[in-house]
């Protein structure tokens, strides 16, 4: 279980992102940030506060409301010596940059026979329950995870967010980096010193013996909360965070399921044809002869996300939902 040294200070998820960007902007002249209201405003989430003051408007660039245009510009700049970090305010807007990410960024290296590279990072958000309704609450990371040539990162803690973002910026491939906007204020230990976290290395957030809970992004917190409650009733849950859906650390997931013989996959994207499907299918196949129960999936409800608080909260998996599912799988009633 990778974590910072004991004496690391506590900072928020938002601060961790900000630090990662600041350090990379300092380290590498070629890195720049481009997006809507990223400079003086520091984004509506204030995640980039202070960066334009240190690095100037030439490296922290406000743009028109042109998601496709700035992403396309980023792809071209990445192909010609720069390392752009494109800010797409809400994850829902990735629908606008799909051609640039899917048909351009993801394919240039392969189509050119390996001669061209596209070291671009697209930072965007995900996560519901913010009362922002159907077009500002989606978690669409599955759409990009489906595309060969792209890497997809879904950090769940300030520590992971910082280390993974630095890795993303140094990676020579296009990377989609999803930040759950509901976690920006989440605090966690982050070492003062420099570190990076490799892609494709799942992290065991909590080890356990009876059941494996694979969770991504904000659902990791939900899983950890559920694990605590389960412990009280004598069920030892192992919580695993893939950290990157692409590349995906299949072996760690499979090994854990083999050990516990039961697995639940929790992700905030729509359940159907989403991340839970891929991971559940991999575990059900890889741990087939070890499973005592079917692998269960818990994604966001397959509905456009409703505005009303009375409805929205029903669409996202909760600690209690996970606990109930775990109890059923473990035959506890």
């Amino acid at each position: 279980m990778s974590t910072p040294d004991a004496n690391a200070r506590e900072i928020t998820f938002s601060e961790a992102i900000n630090e990662a960007l600041a350090e990379e902007l300092r380290r590498d002249e070629r890195v720049f940030i481009i997006g809507e209201d990223v400079a003086e405003a520091g984004t509506p989430f204030k995640v980039l506060s202070g960066l334009v003051q240190e690095f100037g408007p030439e490296r922290v660039i406000d743009t028109p409301i042109s998601e496709a245009g700035i992403t396309g510009l980023g792809v071209g700049a990445a192909m010609t010596g720069m390392r752009p970090v494109v800010d797409i305010m809400f994850g829902d807007f990735v629908t606008l940059v799909m051609d640039q990410m899917v048909n351009q960024a993801a394919k240039v290296h392969y189509m050119s026979g390996g001669k061209l590279h596209v070291p671009i990072v697209m930072r965007t958000t995900m996560g519901a329950t913010r009362r922002s309704a159907a077009q500002h609450s989606q978690s669409l990371h599955a759409l990009l995870s489906h595309i060969p040539g792209l890497k997809v990162v879904v950090p769940s803690t300030p520590y992971d967010a910082k280390g993974l973002l630095k890795t993303a910026i140094r990676d020579d491939n296009p990377v989609a980096f999803f930040e759950d906007k509901m976690m920006y204020r989440l605090k966690g230990p982050v070492p003062v010193g420099e570190y990076t976290i490799p892609f494709g290395a799942a992290d065991i957030k909590r080890s356990g013996a009876d059941i494996t809970i694979v969770a991504t992004s904000s659902m990791v917190q939900v899983a950890l909360g559920a694990a605590k409650l389960l412990e009280e009733i004598g069920i030892s849950a192992e919580v695993i965070d893939p950290r990157t859906t692409k590349p995906l650390d299949k072996q760690t997931l499979i090994d854990s399921a083999k050990k516990t013989s039961r697995a639940i996959v929790v992700d905030e994207g729509y359940e159907s044809y989403g991340v839970t499907a891929e991971i559940a299918a991999i575990i059900a196949d890889g741990a087939f002869y070890y499973l005592d129960a079917p692998v269960k999936r818990m994604g966001a409800m397959d509905v456009p996300i409703p505005f009303s608080p009375a409805l929205e909260d029903l669409t996202v998996p909760t600690e209690q939902d996970v606990v109930e599912m775990a109890k059923t799988l473990c035959g506890v009633v």
Binding site: E40, A133, P306, L311
Partner: protein, 331 residues
Amino acid sequence: MSSMEKDKQKEIIDIELYLHMYQQMAKIRLFELEVNELYLSAKMPGLAHLYIGQEAVAVGVCEALTREDYITSTHRGHGHCLAKGAEVDRMFAELLGKEAGYCRGKGGSMHIADPESGNLGANAIVGGSAGIATGAGFAAKRLGNERVAVCFFGEGALGQGLLYEVMNLAQLWRLPVIYVCENNLYNEYTHYTETTAGELSARPQAFGMHTEIVDGQDVRAVYEATKRLVERARRGEGPAFLLCETYRYRGHHVGDIDRSYYRSKEEELDWETHRDPLKNLADWMLAQGLCDQRTLDQIQSDVEAEVKAGVEFALNTPYPDASEVDQHVYA
């Protein structure tokens, strides 16, 4: 009827029109102030983008439309919805996520739709409804029902490629669509001149589209311009682009309190004191002797009562039942 009588009658009609536009603007202004209160008192879920300062655009445009004509709106859409005929109480109910809201609480502030009043819906994707409005104009032309479609959007939406694709289609096929661009000077926290190369009005003109620029704080001017463009469209002369110069008095959304880093208090004050659409219309009507102060005070108190009643209703009406969560995913 003698021409003198005609003039007299026209004047009466005009007075009624002006007073009605004043009432509509006053209603929107008060509605939005109440929305802000609901936010500050933590009674409203999420955020809202207030229309305060831009009332003359929504009202001037919608007064020139029939109830059957279509509009599409934006994240800053309360004014458009009310101007097109939505009721205050069901608007508040939607903003609070209640079942009595226009969308049963499922849409919220950025997605109010009311087909009965021709409102095809607000949209939280900047420029996202440009295709919808153009398609509504296309359908109107094909069905020969004489309707026109108005697409409201902010100047920031001209950053979206979709606008150019559909303006080309609308002009190519002479569709009855009016693109109403509200230039309130800011894309969120960035001044539009920092995001706009060339003149905004040159964008539609590049497609040969009829384009007019109007003072968005003068409701009569907006109304007259829209009337002309609507008549053109109904006559089959095709789409038009109406660029309205306006200003939002408040923050980008209710939570945008400290704005000093992107605009000055002076600028805000200047618009509020010299270019307020309500004040300007009131002063003009009084100066012209078209009405007296009592009439205006009456309107004000009527509207206050309506808004007060509306918010009361909304606060006390129930949330949708949990069973609704997966209803209306498919027809």
